[in-house]
């Protein structure tokens, strides 16, 4: 299992979703991507994108303006 960090800070949606999508394209089921964001829209958009693609959002952590969304790649990847 591998883990990657995606830097989507200072990007507005849907760019963080696109960065997540592109990062996950190179991963295997069970791998983890940690997406660093500042647009509060990601708390809706990344989980919505994950739901329709069969990935799991393990956690969403918000500290000040930094939002970290952790995604585990699903079996349909």
């Amino acid at each position: 299992m591998s883990s990657v960090t995606v830097d989507a800070r200072n990007l507005l949606c849907p760019m963080p979703v696109i960065r997540t999508q592109d990062a996950l394209a190179g991963l295997q089921a069970g791998d983890v991507a940690e997406v660093l964001c500042t647009d509060p829209g990601v708390v809706h958009d990344i989980p919505a994108w994950c739901r329709i693609h069969g990935h799991e959002v393990s956690s969403i952590d918000q500290q000040d303006d930094l939002i970290t969304v952790t995604v585990r790649v699903g079996n349909s990847a």
């Binding site: 949606c13 849907p14 696109i18 509060p40 809706h44 919505a48 329709i52 693609h53 303006d65």
Partner: protein
């Protein structure tokens, strides 16, 4: 065993593309969605930036549509490639800087490339004959099919019965009788069909989904091009056009004035790229100075910054002026009275 027919639907987040995809899914076709991000998409940006909008329920309507349909959605960044569409539209602009016909041709062409790369059979759009004055007319719909290269592989399920049969119909992948013959600007047939499918709370943006259809935004973009002497832009340029008050007190520079906390926070990210001014004696906006500025220009910018601060009625306001290279100076200025700010300075 019969081969599964597959189609990709252009999903904008609006009602028509949602319905078009669903109509095709009803006939047993495997549908996935594709959504193109141009940088001009209205989708959510001002909600993300402006603090007062943060409490509103926010959603990406294209993702919402895909969830309603239960399909995958592929979001494609076309920011760089799209510049040529905006700068050199073969078919010209609409009432603002909206190159709607070239835009649709470009997007359908990208979808054509996508279906060829992914082994899909045809493309679905939510277009309706007569729905829009530039890109959805009886004479322009065939132009989109032709110039995009999609030809007979482009299906418009909502108005298919008004158009020649496509490959999907002649091959028997779709039953033409189960497609629709919508026509014109009325939204009633779409709303009735939405009810029939059980869709509620769908998006119906009054001004479309693209900032280029917005008059004020187009004026700002035209100002950017004319003062730079070149019709170029990058993503930061077009994002900044969505934020703040824009004033051009001199031809060689303009000011971007944050209107509230959320915009100030967004503009913070650009302080290393622009001269920036912020009041220190009173609360007030972060102001970016875009262009060249001498000492007189800096003073003028500082007075305007003071005008938009809480010290607008004070005798003096102190502001901090920072340059991208890190040099910072403090200036004490008299706020510019609003009656001395010509209307023409507002872009």
């Amino acid at each position: 065993m019969t081969r599964q027919i597959k189609a990709v639907a252009l999903i904008s987040g609006g009602l028509d593309s949602l319905l078009a995809a669903r109509v095709v899914m009803e006939q047993g076709v495997h549908v996935e969605g594709i959504n193109f991000y141009t940088g001009f998409c209205v989708e959510g940006h001002t909600h993300a930036i402006r603090k007062k909008d943060r409490d509103r329920p926010k959603r990406n309507n294209a993702l919402w549509s895909a969830e309603q349909l239960g399909i995958k959605l592929h979001i494609v960044d076309i920011i760089d490639e799209y510049k040529d569409v905006v700068i050199n539209p073969k078919h010209g602009y609409g009432s603002n800087l909206n190159p709607c016909l070239d835009c649709k041709i470009f997007m359908v062409n990208k979808a054509r490339e996508w279906i060829e790369a992914n082994g899909f059979d045809f493309i679905i759009t939510g277009e309706v004959v007569g729905q829009r004055p530039m890109s959805q007319r009886k004479d322009t719909l065939p132009v989109i099919a032709r110039d995009s290269g999609a030809g007979e592989r482009l299906v418009r399920p909502l108005c298919a019965q008004n158009l020649p049969a496509t490959l999907a119909e002649t091959e028997g992948w779709l039953d033409r009788e189960k497609l629709y013959g919508f026509n014109g600007r009325s939204r009633k047939p779409q709303i009735a069909l939405a009810r029939q499918f059980g869709f509620e709370d769908f998006a119906q943006p009054a001004g479309g989904c693209c900032f280029l259809t917005d008059k004020q935004y187009s004026v700002k973009l035209a100002d950017l091009w004319s003062t730079r002497g070149t019709r170029e832009y990058d993503l930061d340029d077009i994002m900044l056009l969505k934020v703040g008050r824009h004033l051009r007190p001199r031809p060689h520079f303009k000011l971007i004035v944050g209107r509230e906390e959320g915009e100030n926070r967004f503009l913070e990210g650009y302080r290393k790229r622009f001269i920036n001014i912020i009041p220190t004696s009173h609360s007030g906006p972060l102001v970016l100075l875009d262009g060249e500025a001498g000492a007189d220009d800096i003073e003028l910018a500082a007075r305007l910054t003071a005008r938009f601060s809480q010290g607008r009625d004070a005798q003096h306001v102190t502001v901090s002026v920072s340059r991208p290279e890190g040099e910072t100076e403090s200036l004490e200025v008299v706020p510019m009275p609003s009656k001395e700010i010509p209307e023409a300075w507002y872009v």
